[in-house]
Chain length 392, copies 2
């Protein structure tokens, strides 16, 4: 599995950069250093509602000479005995001031009477968060809400981000029908088209999808389709392709389409017959059609390609959790990826392995938020045993 | 804080149900029990590519009488000495069979020669995953990719889900300008509009947003705006509203608009002056304008309203992690929500508290994936100390 992941990472490179409006940059990867355009904050601002007075001026009462709202810009040199009313966020009129909180003073006629005064200046000083030119966001950062807000604050309104990959997904199989159709005898509904769409949707990617019958001509025509709105895709996913009983069906199709095949099976179950190939910077996966193997291959392998395409710094790596309960693993000579639920309690990452009946059983997948690595030939595992897992 | 959360939860109810196509149901909350429409799988299927023979028939070679692909439906009573070639997923032609894996046999002329035979039947039996009518998805489940795939497999192509809330967001302040504009002296860029949009976008919600200057008439007109595409919203968010130095500015505006005010401050910092009110099943929040407090209030409080609106079973509750390093908390009499990063390593949930300079400092928020509860009057906290946190 680790070798397969390394091979996939090796053959995928960060896609090109494009500029998008800030409100379309959510979940995208920033590809430029984002800098403070000015000192942050850009001027001395009051941190409270109150009254600005000279710091060394310990008068008991002051003459209120102005009222400043946030947004006002009215520089003036305050004199001893003078105060200006100032709102939170308002620009201080000069240096050397202190803001007395509204709650610590009262107004009598036009004069300010200070009831209580401590040493806190209640000012957010120019440049205290960041100096002009400082790099606030490193290239490779995923644009989460806080990142987007930070970009807005420094005027990065059209960030340079990685373009989204163009994805073509073919669900193959003579036995599959669309979810809204009633299967004939011998048929089942196709869940992989739905799964791929939702999986990619998490990354903001909308694939072009086709359900094609499993014969060479249909699939070749879909792959080569010159009418495709995509023109040329970065990622080709083929689900199924073994139901005619030819193990190398997808492999030979991909080879005919010009892909070099780098992986044709994995040592991990489920997902043994997975195929991975590349062609001129684009890559293709042949994914086993059964739902559990398909689900595991998407999260374990296709996810790696998406990560590399994105140019993000943080890799989708395994974490370590502890088993929440004893687990009698069936002995298997192959490493197994097991659907599980994680829970964060008492400082521990606890893993509960979910029961699954068969490789077609989607019920456990619907509850899973992790895939746990069960080592080859594992015996019974005790509560508290540490295992690697992939959050999904 | 807990009392505020309880108050918010109490005043928000699950919104109405609507039916949507499956590919638009991602991240929505399912509001009906989803049942298996037929036995799952609906017929006995081969789990491998191979040859079906009678289970008790231990002949050394067999006559191949048919070739079945997945999708074929060709019932026949196999006779002793007969085999049918069958592909993975193909329907078995009758009961009482076993599938010999392709790898364990060879074909000579038209006859099958079994090289190796074990007891495994290599059949996924009708109903082994679920019986017809069994509830596979409980109401209140969030439609993650695996849930959507499960719905596809049982023909739930137009699920009943909670409608999305209609949200109006007003960013108020005389000092704020749009991110693509250069602030005049005394002005700053508005980051809260971007933050709210990205925060709500995580839940598939697109708010109507307006940047309004902070005077009573502008805001009243925005709230009452009969031209609004929304007509009537479920959630009104007002950011800012204290920069004219009137603490009760938003409160009085909401009261004039018919809201009953249930919260007007919290005991937690940042976010002390937060306002929460309700009116005929809709709710409103007055959020402090400074970025850190605004961020905390969205994740800590507004998130609770969204959860209740959604009808989801799993609540956004606090988890427990351990401090990754000693932390010299500044003594503060109020409980503090501190931006942090979580890491799952060696079975532990480790919390690294992020430095922030001021309540306007967005740099720590851009890196945060958790908000940690620092108890009131906490002294220095040691590595390994357990703390509650909210994943964000």
């Amino acid at each position: 599995m680790d070798e397969t992941i390394a091979t996939i990472r090796e053959h995928c490179q960060a896609l090109a950069v494009e500029q998008v409006p800030l409100d379309q940059a959510a979940r995208r990867v920033i590809r430029e250093p984002v800098r403070a355009d000015t000192d942050q904050p850009p001027f001395d601002r009051s941190a409270v509602d109150g009254y600005a007075v000279r710091r060394e001026d310990r008068s008991a009462s002051f003459r209120i000479v102005d009222r400043l709202r946030a947004g006002d810009w009215k520089p003036r040199e305050l004199q001893p005995g003078e105060a200006v009313q100032i709102a939170t966020g308002g620009a201080l009129p000069c240096d050397g001031l202190q803001v007395v909180m509204k709650e610590d003073a009262r107004v009598e006629a036009d004069r300010l009477v200070v009831v209580q005064r401590d040493d806190a200046r209640h000012i957010r000083f120019r440049g205290e968060d960041a100096s002009a030119g400082a790099v606030l966001i490193q290239p490779g950062t995923v644009a989460r809400p806080g990142v987007l807000a930070l970009m807005a604050s420094v005027g990065c309104a059209r960030p340079r981000v990685t373009r989204l990959p163009r994805v073509l997904h073919l669900a193959t199989g003579n036995e599959i029908v669309a979810p809204d159709r009633k299967p004939e005898r011998g048929q089942i509904r196709d869940s992989n088209t739905t799964l791929v769409r939702a999986f990619l949707g998490q990354f903001g990617i909308t694939p072009e999808q086709m359900r094609v019958s499993e014969d060479r001509a249909s699939i070749q025509s879909a792959i080569r389709n010159p009418q495709s709105a995509l023109g040329r895709w970065d990622l080709l996913l083929v689900s199924g392709g073994a139901s005619v009983g030819e193990h190398d069906f997808t492999r030979s199709l991909l080879e005919e389409a010009g892909y070099s095949i780098h992986v044709q099976r994995t040592t991990t179950r489920p997902g043994k017959p997975m195929i991975f190939g590349s062609r001129d910077g684009s890559v293709a996966f042949g994914l086993p059609g059964n739902p559990l193997a398909h689900f595991v291959c998407l999260h374990l392998y296709v996810r790696q390609a998406l990560w590399r395409f994105s140019g993000a710094t943080d890799a989708p790596d395994f974490c370590v959790g502890v088993l929440a309960a004893d687990f009698a693993a069936e002995a298997n000579e192959r490493e197994t990826l097991w659907p599980a639920r994680t829970e964060m309690a008492e400082g521990e990452v606890r893993l509960t392995l979910l029961r699954w009946q068969s490789s077609g059983d989607l019920t456990s997948l619907s509850a899973a938020n992790a895939l746990v690595r069960i080592p080859p030939n594992a015996g019974p595992l005790s509560r508290g045993f540490r295992l690697f897992f992939l959050p999904i």
